[in-house]
Subunit: 172 residues, 4 copies
DNA sequence: TTTT
DNA sequence: TTTT
């Protein structure tokens, strides 16, 4: 069934990496997404809890920070657990399947971008979508796609598509 | 900022209409949205709390019921309130901006569709998207749009968006 | 970068399966998606060209037909080719990454659903997203996800995520 | 029916404003949206034709330019016309319903941002989605929404949608 | 006809 | 060239 979320907003705090017992990376964060229509005396943003896994979690922790502007694709997930008081707590959050860094290369925000090419920030800034000069399009509409390797951001920053997205034990 | 949700799923219970003090209709409901990837021993669906307002709330209450299959477009909203115990409770829910009824006309689910044309169910089933016979497209790409009136479902079931998106003559 | 499309609409004709030289399945189809706001004297729908690959293509051909109601997630793709007259032709179409069948089991449309459980139609129709009564949620928020096997529709009807989505030669 | 598109990408050229005979603003532009998976020898982006109307068209022309990074929400529209050679030409394009400027305030790209607050660029850049420390949320879940006036970007850059989505008092 |  |  269709369960699709797209958000553009900013991180409300530095992302923090955790590991499951089996060593899977997981990163929880909150996005502040500005509202188009505001309510008197209310915040102008929604504060949406999100979670990212694996490489996406690693890269977010490495290159993003409080205030970073990102685009996110994912889905809504609900779950629950029983707290210490024995009450069931229900959680609604967004599972990130793909995260796009939307800050410019020269963003100055108290952190320094990695100096080699594979940093998401740099990789993205340097993106050379191979500007198609005179015949930019695909002559053969159905040729074989290959994983994009010359773009650190896009190639590394997406959910590794199913299988081991999660782990079998709780990190918190 | 971008905050977009699209869901297709089923209602977990009959929608229930409430009224604000000022008489505005509001309807809370939960959608069960099946997961593509399931977790062992876990439910195969997410149970997403949603809220609809005004005419959408009225129509949902009138024509939908537990188990109804719908498509929904909206956005994620977060809010909070203090409960009786003085604890702050945080809520994440989807605000429906548009709801589409996806059951066929002949759906038999213990309720009877309204017998006149304005029932969403019937209106939808009878939809005659004016099959464009020989020149189905818009000759004038930018002619004046008008609110669709011959389709009870679509005309009434969305947040009442702007009328004058386009103009009545060609600019090029 | 974000390029996300969600459509709910009907097939304007039976899907037709083609094979690339390397044997990859590909299926082109058009979805009619009703408009909320119509333009006087114009069709009430958009007719959106789409393409599906691999297993999705196979299943669509097998179980869908003219008029079938589907939900689709995908992305917009542009390409071009030179026609016989030596003119460059530009194409904008939607690449389906996931297709959901939205007809009820008892749909009677001149085709017969498969008699065993793995038909997309049946699998889907039998889904009983049984509303979780008192403990519907996930006790362990981060347990290991596995491929959904008890739902023919969802498990088989999605793009096999990268790698061999396309082929290296033209099927048409 | 659901027809939803979300794009994040860059303008391939300066937007150009046109007027219909009745004076309505319309602006056509193309977005380059990078692909995650590329095809050997092919461009790494899709070049998606879009159109915006009214105030959105005005603001895009005023503040955006070739290379500007934007987020866009809209829908796919198809239309056709007969060209001079008497052939029918089919068009698939995206109608922008909301456009978000994603460049930072200090973007230097050969144009100068407006010096008063209502420039989309400035208004947006000044957004301080101040992370809600202890009580960031909405105490009253259903208070009356008003058009956001303190944010030039968001208040002016969207298709002029409905005002009365909510109500002014709590129903529960 | 394509953007960083 | 369009679906209910």
């Amino acid at each position: 069934m269709i369960n699709r979320v797209v958000l553009v907003g900013r991180l409300t705090r530095d992302p923090e990496l955790r590991k499951t017992q089996s060593g899977t990376s997981v990163c929880s964060f909150t996005m502040a997404v500005g509202r188009r229509v505001s309510t008197q005396g209310q915040p102008d943003a929604d504060f949406i809890n999100c979670v990212a896994w694996n490489k996406t979690a690693d890269l977010m922790t490495q290159y993003l920070h409080k205030g970073s502007l990102i685009g996110l694709e994912g889905r809504i997930q609900t779950r629950s657990y029983d707290n210490q008081q024995g009450q069931r707590v229900y959680i609604t959050e967004v599972v990130a399947e793909s995260v796009q860094f939307l800050e410019p290369k020269n963003a100055q925000s108290g952190y320094s971008a990695p100096s080699q090419d594979y940093g998401m920030n740099q990789g993205f800034a340097q993106n050379t979508y191979a500007a198609p000069v005179q015949n930019g399009y695909n002559q053969n509409p159905y040729s074989n796609p290959v994983q994009n390797t010359n773009n650190a951001f896009d190639s590394t920053f997406n959910a590794d598509d199913s299988l081991d997205i999660a782990s079998d034990d709780l990190p918190f």
